[in-house]
């Protein structure tokens, strides 16, 4: 159990480090790093506080702390993935609308360019 908690703690610290490094390098925007940082901090707290983990395991109805911890880890990452699915869907909708708008504007601009040329010819 102690080894598992230590591994989870180390993983959380590495995850926080990687996320902060990527924010600094501007590879992740701050608003999209919040979910990962939140998940990593919760894991770090749980791995360093067996009492809280025990209370959560009792709430879930499991006596086995490692299994409870793994369940919580899985649930946390599912929430993070779901949040990103929502963000991706929103971005896709915006992207499609923007693309359509750009294509329509390009068509209208080309038509405006053609108009004076054809009227000059006349």
């Amino acid at each position: 159990m102690d080894r598992l908690l230590s591994i989870i703690a180390a993983f959380s610290i590495v995850l926080i480090g990687v996320v902060l490094f990527n924010i600094r390098r501007a590879h992740i925007r701050v608003e999209y790093s919040v979910s990962w940082l939140g998940a990593a901090i919760i894991l770090l707290i749980l791995s360093q506080s067996p009492w809280i983990l025990g209370q959560l395991a009792h709430f879930i109805g499991l006596n086995n702390l490692p299994v409870s911890l793994l369940l919580i880890v899985g649930a946390l990452f599912l929430v993070v993935f779901f949040r990103f699915s929502v963000i991706m869907s929103d971005l896709k909708d915006s992207n499609v609308a923007l693309t359509q708008k750009v294509a329509i504007l390009e068509y209208q601009i080309n038509a405006l360019h053609e108009k004076p040329q054809s009227s000059r010819r006349e």
Binding site: Q100, A103, Y107, K115
Partner: protein, 243 residues
């Protein structure tokens, strides 16, 4: 640039992706039958000469900057048609399967019936039944499934040969399914208590190219459309329960 002219301005919309072998013939056929109708081709970022062929054949062309898929292209056309003040839009596929000879029938049914959508159906009154086996199975399944939901028989729910009036145009310009839009669009119409009618048309074999719906993708198609329909039903229930 195309313009909405006349008392009941109507536009022909042709979404096309890598259809250089067929789109020119389709445009020329429409022009020869209906010389006054403006034709807008939405080129879905084709890798071949679709845009050039369409322009040379006398259509107006919008090329989207990246591959949007069928629904995204059709919606771009609907948006422009709505903004330009068109009252009606009839959509034809760029692969030549939709015979332009039936545009007049769809147009007249739109004018006469007041229905928001008119579908060119290959299964009404013994129309041509040219379709693949996988698509045929899908049509039978969705015909049954939509019958339960819409409480009205739809003979050809996957047909993309459709005409819409300005009311439907306004709705679809705002929101339109991105992939495989035909069936979901019917459920959207039902949710808004809009009406649709079917008229008999004959479908032809593709003039060139291959269909994007392969046997494997047809499974994805069924799942995708089923999910889309269920989501639209949930929206429908939600709107009914609202005070």
């Amino acid at each position: 640039m195309i313009q909405a002219k006349g008392e009941r301005p109507l536009m022909i919309l042709i979404p096309a992706f890598n259809e250089e072998g067929a789109v020119g013939t389709v445009i020329r056929e429409v022009h020869s039958l209906y010389p006054d109708l403006p034709i807008l081709v939405i080129d879905d970022c084709s890798a071949d000469g679709t845009r050039t062929v369409a322009l040379e054949s006398g259509a107006d062309v919008i090329t989207v900057p990246y591959h949007l898929g069928l629904g995204g292209c059709v919606q771009a056309g609907y948006r422009l048609a709505f903004d330009l003040g068109f009252e009606y839009v009839i959509r034809l596929d760029g692969d030549g399967q939709h015979d332009p000879a039936y545009v007049g029938l769809i147009r007249d049914t739109l004018f006469r019936s007041g229905a928001q959508m008119v579908i060119g159906s290959r299964y009404v009154n013994g129309g041509g039944k040219h379709t693949s086996f996988a698509r045929g199975v899908g049509i039978v399944f969705f015909r049954w499934f939509l019958g339960l939901i819409l409480r009205k028989r739809v003979h050809d729910p996957t047909s993309g040969y459709v005409g819409v009036n300005r009311q439907a145009l306004e709705v679809f310009a705002r929101s339109f399914p991105l992939e495989y839009p035909e069936i979901e669009a019917l459920v959207v119409l039902q949710r808004l208590t809009f009406r649709f009618e079917e008229v008999p048309v004959k479908m032809r074999p593709r003039m060139a190219g291959t269909s994007t719906i392969t046997a494997v993708r047809s499974f994805y198609y069924v799942l995708h459309v089923l999910l889309g329909v269920v989501v639209n039903i949930l929206k429908y229930q939600g709107s009914k329960s609202r005070p």
